[in-house]
């Protein structure tokens, strides 16, 4: 397992329609903040993992463009791709470099500039994120469409309603309104959500995360270095990773993302946690709510709720700030925004700040256990990353 690894610095740009900056300028906003927080200089960094999905944006080799702009050349780097979970993959790459002793300090950078292309082109590229030849070429699935396939099956089986889906949107827009980095700054009502137009039946406009530009960065350090840099490191306690079939037709069913269950169980096992009572161990979670149905599936895949009962947590407001397990107090992908390559790193940034008690008052969770969970999915359960962050140093590695 190697050495302990801690987050020692975090950076997060404003998410939204960032027509005011290009790719490296946007990335630098997050990188500079992370360097300042960690109190390190570019020369101290041994390795930079870089997350960007791209296609819709102009730079095909964004890692190099950003590293040059940020004064990080000639540091070792590569771009990682795990669709919408690329950010978590970049954190894992940086984590592994530090844990294995290949680096003492590593930075994980995520940036996505989706608004460099017109919306139909962006829809096209995300729609191709599955199996291009067999599922896109002939049938033109879109990302809302992929998750709508899960929503249809889930609602039919368990009796969840479109109102239940909208409860996720209303909750997450509310918390986004308290997060100055979020794309959407105003709360929404149930009526606004229910009256919004269908995008991919049964998902409506307010069931969908937006097209977002944004960047995030975290600096990771070995235990020895972390102790020198900060009094309040946040440790990466465990990482679980799994994959799902590219063709959705190859899935067993459409009620759960099997890769997410697998990744969660792996992360829990490594941390020595019992899945049955997982909510007792976690103070706050960021889950991959690219669509409202995805947050409900996440509750069940992570063991926050029994199978078929995820939507009931919302009816009882158990995933609100003072509920059983607060989820997406950042506003989530749904309302904070979802710049694909930055999303997993954004989760790490917000959870680090949550654990350290330094997010905005109205959305600060009560920290008792000192443990937070990030659930980051790429594609429609194609890639799954579940990462546990902890204020206490992991005892055994």
């Amino acid at each position: 397992m190697g050495r302990n690894v801690a987050i020692v610095g975090t950076g997060h740009s404003k998410f939204g329609n960032r027509y005011d900056v290009n790719i490296p300028e946007l990335a630098w906003e997050a990188i500079k903040q992370a360097l300042d927080e960690a109190g390190v200089d570019q020369k101290d960094i041994d390795f930079a993992s870089f997350s960007n999905v791209g296609g819709w944006s102009s730079e095909p080799l964004p890692a190099l463009v950003v590293l040059e702009y940020a004064g990080l050349t000639p540091k070792a780097t590569y771009r990682v791709e795990a669709a919408c979970a690329s950010g978590s993959a970049a954190i894992k790459a940086a984590h592994d470099a530090v844990a294995s002793g290949q680096a003492d300090i590593a930075i994980a950078i995520g940036v996505e500039k989706m608004n460099e292309s017109p919306t139909p082109t962006v829809i096209e590229f995300i729609g191709r994120a599955g199996n291009y030849f067999w599922e896109f070429q002939n049938f033109g699935l879109t990302f809302p469409g992929y998750y709508a396939l899960y929503a249809t099956a889930y609602m039919d089986k368990y009796g969840a309603t479109e109102e239940d889906l909208c409860r996720v949107a209303v909750k997450n827009h509310y918390y986004a309104s308290l997060n100055p980095k979020a794309q959407f700054t105003k709360p929404i009502t149930m009526e606004m959500c229910m009256n919004s137009r269908y995008i991919a039946w049964p998902l409506k406009l307010f069931d969908c995360s937006p097209i977002t530009d944004g960047a995030a960065a975290v600096i990771l350090a070995s235990e020895e270095v972390a102790k020198k840099l900060t009094d309040s490191p946040v440790w990466i306690e465990s990482i679980g990773v799994a994959s799902g079939t590219s063709n959705l037709s190859k899935r067993q069913g459409f009620l759960s993302l099997e890769a997410a269950v697998e990744a969660a169980n792996m992360a829990y096992k490594k941390a020595g946690l019992n899945r049955e009572e997982i909510v007792k161990h976690i103070d706050v979670a960021e889950v991959h709510d690219c669509f409202t149905i995805a947050e409900i599936l996440a509750y069940e895949d992570l063991g926050f709720a029994k199978r078929g009962e995820g939507y009931k947590l919302l009816r009882e407001e158990q995933t609100h700030k003072d509920g059983l397990i607060p989820v997406n107090l950042s506003g989530g992908l749904k309302a904070k925004g979802h710049p694909l390559g930055a999303t997993g790193i954004s989760m790490a940034v917000d959870l680090t700040r949550q654990l350290q008690g330094r997010v905005e008052k109205g959305r600060q969770a009560t920290i008792v256990n000192g443990r937070a969970l990030a659930h980051n999915i790429g594609g429609t359960g194609h890639y799954a990353y579940v990462t546990l962050y902890n204020l206490s140093k992991p005892r055994t590695r």
Partner: protein
């Protein structure tokens, strides 16, 4: 009313028009983004993205399958696993000894969605339904479903596979058709 693809083309043509005027006026293709006013460089390069994808090893699926009105899968001669979409290698047996088999036509709908907001390259079609059906032999197939009224669609409803020509492109593909009482 124009379709989504025409609307997208029109949007870009408008931007290009502005950029061309700016080039004439000040020599740079820089235009203001309508909402924020931020200055944007209108890309002076353009590519066409068309892939040439090998179907050499699965050409039977098209020539002897779809063109003759059949939906084919492959089956591993060793373990009997069926592959749809067809694979020419069985990774479990590590063999390429496969045979072509025809899939049953009847099954039921596992799930579906109706696509209203379309990708650029599908923007010329009317709204379409995509579903996943489980056929009688357990094989699962993703395809368009010939019904776009959500009230007439139901998880578990019987469907049959039909080989159809996709228009306006004019190529063979397969579609799921809800079974009505008359057709059964």
């Amino acid at each position: 009313m124009s379709n989504q693809r025409e609307q997208a083309d029109m949007f870009l043509r408008q931007m290009e028009g502005f950029a061309n005027e700016m080039k004439k006026a000040v020599g740079t293709p820089i235009i203001p983004e309508p909402k924020s006013g931020s200055q944007l460089w209108y890309d002076q390069r353009e590519i066409k993205l068309k892939f040439l994808i090998s179907v050499e090893k699965i050409k039977k699926f098209f020539h002897e399958g779809l063109a003759e009105g059949k939906l084919l899968a492959t089956r591993c001669k060793k373990c009997g696993r069926k592959y749809f979409p067809p694979q020419v290698d069985c990774p479990y047996c590590k063999t390429s000894e496969m045979e072509w088999v025809e899939l049953p036509r009847r099954g039921h709908l596992m799930t579906y969605t109706i696509i209203y907001v379309k990708p650029y390259s599908f923007g010329h079609y009317p709204d379409y339904t995509v579903g996943i059906a489980k056929l009688e032999d357990g094989t699962q197939v993703t395809a368009w479903v010939r019904e776009t009224d959500p009230k007439k669609l139901k998880v578990g409803m019987p469907v049959r596979v039909e080989i159809v020509k996709r228009e306006p492109e004019g190529y063979f593909t397969y579609e799921l058709v809800p079974e009505t009482e008359e057709s059964q």
